[in-house]
């Protein structure tokens, strides 16, 4: 097997000395892999993502990307934030094109190509006709789709996504799950896929999308187990209806049920 794309080795993170958010987390993320992370609220998922993004220093341990330590943010790692982090002074279009206009992601694109990609992405997330609206004029679900489109438009090599579909209705969510798999490259050979780290609360979503699901336990955040999802690709509606799918969901649910209760009761 090839060397991992991203390697977390005994990574710990505490805030202010007392709050241990993540403890001794070791995890290899393969090139072209779709990794989902599930776990109860407050178990440190966002913290892990922020460290992968290079936005939070580690307290101890090492984290490498292509063998080199992660020392800060980089445009090859696109992030979709749990709170969306949309620029309130920019319209839907202005937000979606942001990375292409001001970051390295747009280098080598002609203005026409850029416009075309922005339009296509906005259409993909179902926001056609809302181009000129400001974030404060959008519903929560629409804002989430703008954030998704902003990440997608930059086409980063690695996508770090924090509950990207949580605010959406069931139908839109299914559509965007399929779309996400297409962008990730499920129709392409494994060597041509992007790498995705996808945080979610929805177990069925994790199972449907991912190659592997990492289950975290809370207080402190530790890796409880990694489950291989060997459902055949490409996946679609047939996958969602299959017995294997239901069985996998069930077994993961049993893994984290006890965790979830513990986290809720505390």
């Amino acid at each position: 097997m090839s060397a991992p794309k991203i390697r977390l080795d005994c990574v710990s993170k505490s805030f202010g000395g007392s709050v241990v958010a993540v403890e001794k987390l070791s995890l290899d993320i393969r090139d072209g892999e779709f990794l989902a992370i599930v776990g109860p609220s407050g178990c440190g998922k966002t913290t892990v993502l922020n460290m992968l993004a290079g936005l939070e220093p580690l307290t101890s341990g090492t984290m490498t990307l292509n063998g080199k330590p992660i020392e800060g943010p980089g445009a090859e790692r696109g992030v979709m934030f749990q709170d969306y982090a949309l620029f309130p002074w920019r319209t839907v279009r202005g937000n979606v094109e942001f990375g292409l206009v001001y970051g390295p992601a747009g280098q080598g694109l002609s203005p026409a190509e850029r416009t075309e990609r922005v339009e296509r992405t906005i259409e993909m997330v179902g926001l056609k006709g809302s181009h000129e609206k400001y974030p404060h004029q959008l519903s929560g679900g629409m804002r989430q789709r703008v954030a998704l489109a902003r990440l997608m438009a930059s086409e980063p090599e690695i996508l770090l996504m924090d509950e990207p579909l949580a605010a959406l209705d069931a139908q839109t969510r299914v559509i965007l799950q399929d779309e996400l798999l297409r962008i990730w490259g499920q129709d392409r050979p494994a060597t041509e896929r992007r790498t995705v780290v996808f945080i979610t609360h929805a177990i069925d979503e994790a199972v449907f999308l991912a190659d592997r699901v990492a289950v975290l336990s809370s207080h402190p955040g530790r890796l409880k187990q990694i489950i291989d999802i060997d459902l055949p690709r490409p996946r679609g509606d047939a996958t969602r209806r299959s017995g294997d799918f239901a069985r996998l969901c069930q077994s993961i649910w049993e893994l984290i049920r006890e965790e979830a209760y513990r986290a809720t009761m505390n």
């Binding site: 993004a53 290079g54 943010p73 002074w89 990375g99 001001y102 404060h136």
Partner: protein, 250 residues
């Protein structure tokens, strides 16, 4: 229609009350005598010339204040070291009213436009600075993080994230600053009005009415004109704000 009538009712009542109260004394200015004076002053152009002089000074001083306060505020808001070093200085000068530095300014710059502009710049400087600093400091951290993950260079980040994020607050500071600047210019012109060689402005006009011609009607006309200009300035700036920052509710 009904709204208009209601809005007019209060000023009209006040005017009527004023007329009634003042009719007892021969010298007291009354709405009718003030109106006559206003028409005369408008006709010979003195009033508008005075206002224009004062406004010119306000805009000049205000522009200077903004050009210094905004970059300084951004530096202080985004760089803790800069803030630590400059904050004591700012907080020492801030409580000193613009008029309190007038004697010094007159000694240095004389009693002409230079002094007036300096006073205005000083008065407008602090609200713009303080609001710029707080605007920069209150930026949602996740917005900066988003820009970081998209690989923006520090200079681009400042231009396309920090500045627009702080803009509503900067504009509020400018609005407050302009109001204070207008107040300060009148006071400054009043105060230098007695000096020989001082030149024009609505404040000086008031001083002349007070000290030489003892024309109460003229003084009241000036006061009303000052109020109307202040109101117009504020409305204009509010309108400019709504146009410049349509995303912000201020």
């Amino acid at each position: 229609m009904k709204h208009m009538a209601l809005r007019l009712a209060v000023p009209l009542l006040l005017l009527a009350g004023w007329q009634l109260l003042a009719s007892g004394s021969a010298q007291a200015p009354r709405p009718t005598t003030v109106a006559e004076a206003a028409i005369a002053m408008l006709r010979d152009g003195d009033l508008l010339a005075g206002l224009a002089t004062s406004l010119g000074r306000v805009f000049a001083g205000f522009a200077i204040a903004a050009c210094v306060a905004i970059p300084l505020g951004i530096a202080m808001g985004s760089m803790p070291t800069v803030e630590r070093n400059l904050d004591p200085l700012v907080e020492t000068f801030r409580p000193i009213a613009a008029l309190a530095i007038l004697p010094l300014v007159i000694l240095w710059l004389g009693s002409g436009s230079g002094a007036a502009i300096a006073i205005v710049a000083y008065a407008a400087f602090f609200p713009i600075l303080i609001n710029t600093i707080s605007g920069v400091k209150r930026i949602e951290p996740s917005l900066m993080r988003a820009a970081l993950t998209m690989g923006l260079t520090p200079l681009t980040r400042m231009r396309v994230v920090l500045l627009p994020a702080a803009l509503p607050s900067i504009l509020v500071g400018m609005r407050i600053g302009l109001g204070i600047a207008w107040t300060a210019i009148i006071a400054a012109e009043l105060a230098v009005g007695a000096k020989s060689g001082s030149s024009g402005g609505i404040g000086q006009m008031m001083f002349v009415f007070y000290a030489y011609s003892i024309d109460l009607n003229g003084m009241v006309v000036c006061m009303i004109a000052v109020g109307i200009v202040a109101f117009a300035l504020d409305r204009a700036l509010r309108w400019a704000l709504a146009i410049t920052v349509p995303w912000s509710r201020i």
